[in-house]
């Protein structure tokens, strides 16, 4: 891999006295789909949050495209134009309609033309099969529908990569499928995806590469076929034996 799109180099992060990341290095190429799996508290989500600067690192270096995320004078708008994020709890804005949720940030933050953004937002809502709910409020939608709106909202910023933070963990089982289908479509279209997930079947199917974290370290990584059938590390084997 000569030119990674997202690069984390030797990243450290502690919350108070608790170390969460203890020297994490990951390189993600453009268009690559990676899944990060591991036990809770192993730092999976923190990795994502460091990539889009929701959490500032203590030490180390992160780059996304041409942007130095760890630089002091980080341009948040430029960064958000390159990486979007989808959260476990959807975090839609309850006082705005579905369409406004999707279109407001490109209009207000990127200062793009309102008519163009609205048209794009409608197209994206159609893509996540929610074109008919454009004028509904988030509170009127099911969890799965809300999460699909959240994905459309992230896509409307026209990012080059999207971070998915356990996006199906809060959903009822029957709604997990509809959300994973959308993510699969996006991944197949060449979007760079970083997915933190507990859905092993999904990870195996869509990931180009799997990273296993434990205790703030990346213990092991590899293509899914190799990772699931022949894990090298003892911690990976023990984790997989519990979840598979």
């Amino acid at each position: 891999m000569s030119d990674p799109f997202i690069r984390l180099h030797d990243v450290y992060k502690s919350f108070g006295d608790t170390p969460v990341l203890r020297g994490v290095s990951v390189d993600i190429a453009k268009g690559e789909v990676i899944c990060i799996i591991g036990p809770s508290g192993s730092g999976k989500s923190t990795i994502l949050r460091c990539i889009n600067a929701l959490t500032r690192v203590d030490q180390g270096f992160i780059q996304v495209g041409d942007i130095q995320v760890t630089a002091k004078n980080l341009d948040m708008v430029a960064l958000c134009h390159r990486v979007g994020m989808v959260f476990q709890q959807y975090n839609l804005f309850p006082h705005k309609t579905v369409l406004q949720n999707v279109s407001m940030a490109p209009i207000q933050v990127l200062k793009q033309n309102k008519a163009e953004v609205t048209e794009r937002a409608r197209a994206l809502l159609g893509k996540v099969k929610l074109g008919h709910r454009a004028n509904a409020f988030p509170g009127e939608l099911s969890g799965g529908q809300q999460q699909r709106v959240a994905i459309a909202r992230a896509l409307c910023m026209q990012p080059q990569a999207i971070l998915f933070d356990e996006v199906t963990a809060a959903l009822d089982p029957e709604m997990v499928g509809e959300v994973l289908t959308v993510i699969k479509e996006i991944a197949n279209e060449g979007m760079t995806c970083v997915v933190v997930t507990h859905e092993m079947g999904f990870a195996r199917e869509v990931a180009d590469r799997i990273y296993f974290t434990d205790g703030g370290l990346i213990v092991e990584s590899g293509p899914p076929a190799e990772f699931f059938t022949n894990p090298a590390d003892e911690r990976t084997r023990s984790f997989l034996s519990k979840v598979l």
């Binding site: 889009n52 929701l54 948040m76 708008v77 960064l79 958000c80 134009h81 979007g84 994020m85 959260f87 709890q89 975090n91 839609l92 804005f93 309850p94 006082h95 407001m104 940030a105 207000q108 933050v109 990127l110 409020f137 509170g139 909202r153 910023m157």
Partner: protein, 282 residues
């Protein structure tokens, strides 16, 4: 045929659709109108009852009517002072409240300290401070303006209102889940944009009831200004009583003034409840 059935068959014929009537009555406009009428009715009954019970009904009623314009003049000042104080106090409270949760220490600490000092001070003491410490006249561009007593009193009332509203704003903003801030941030919103586009609009629903409550408390506090000589309703009422020098007038006059405060603030309370319901849809 049972009685129930005949009744339900009967009612459409006389043109009363009970369900629809109830639905109409449930809208805030009707609720507001009903409460205004109700409160005016209560006042009339109260004043009449006091007047009649004190014996010489007609003379007392005549006195009440005679002094009504004078009392109304004073009451108008109570309303004006309360409107000035709630407007300025709300504006100040929004900024103080946002200041309290600001991420920058040199903004958040002074905001917190100011809020706590003025929230925990007696309103009357703050009023005295403003009445006696604020300048009696200001010079702007060579012209001298007299700062009226009631204007200084309004400023004195603004301070505790701002401090109390600051706490309402802080509480409402902190009750918004952190995920909303994070979502806004991940979409490139600055702190200020997050506040104005995402957090504050969601707070309005939560802030409205305590804000209306604060206004009611404020209005009830405006007669404090009579202690420092403002010509508001209570001052004027005392003047009227002194002029009449008739002990029997004491109860009816005070009841009369009380009822004005009630008539003015009760519909507002009802209106706030109706608004709450309307906002609760989303």
């Amino acid at each position: 045929m049972t009685q129930d059935q005949s009744a339900s068959r009967f009612s459409p014929e006389v043109g009363i659709d009970l369900a629809a009537a109830r639905k109409r009555a449930g809208t805030w406009r009707n609720a507001g109108l009903a409460s205004v009428l109700l409160s005016i009715l209560i006042v009339c009954v109260l004043v009449l009852a006091v007047a009649i019970l004190s014996g010489t009904g007609t003379t007392i009623l005549a006195k009440l009517i005679k002094w009504t314009p004078f009392l109304a003049e004073g009451f108008l000042l109570n309303v004006v002072m309360s409107l000035i104080a709630i407007s300025a106090g709300t504006l100040g409270g929004v900024f103080l409240g946002m200041g309290q949760i600001a991420l920058v220490g040199w903004i958040s600490w002074p905001s917190k300290v100011l809020t706590q000092i003025f929230r925990n001070a007696p309103w009357l003491v703050l009023l005295f401070y403003c009445i006696f410490l604020l300048p009696y006249q200001v010079k702007i561009a060579g012209q001298t303006f007299i700062v009226a007593n009631w204007l200084r009193a309004s400023i004195g009332l603004t301070i505790p209102v701002a401090a109390n509203f600051s706490e309402i704003v802080r509480g409402a903003m902190q009750s918004i889940p952190s995920g909303q801030w994070e979502a806004a941030r991940s979409l490139g919103y600055t702190w200020r944009q997050s506040v104005f586009q995402v957090v504050l609009p969601q707070c309005i629903k939560r802030m409205l009831p305590p804000w209306m409550n604060l206004y009611a408390v404020l209005l009830m506090a405006t007669p404090l200004a009579s202690i420092v000589g403002t010509q508001e309703a209570l001052t004027n009422l005392r003047t009227a009583l002194q002029a009449e020098a008739d002990g029997r007038l004491l109860l009816p006059f005070y009841a009369y003034l009380l009822s004005w405060f009630f008539v003015y603030s009760y519909p507002i309370a009802r209106f706030s409840m109706a608004l709450e319901k309307r906002f609760a849809i989303h």
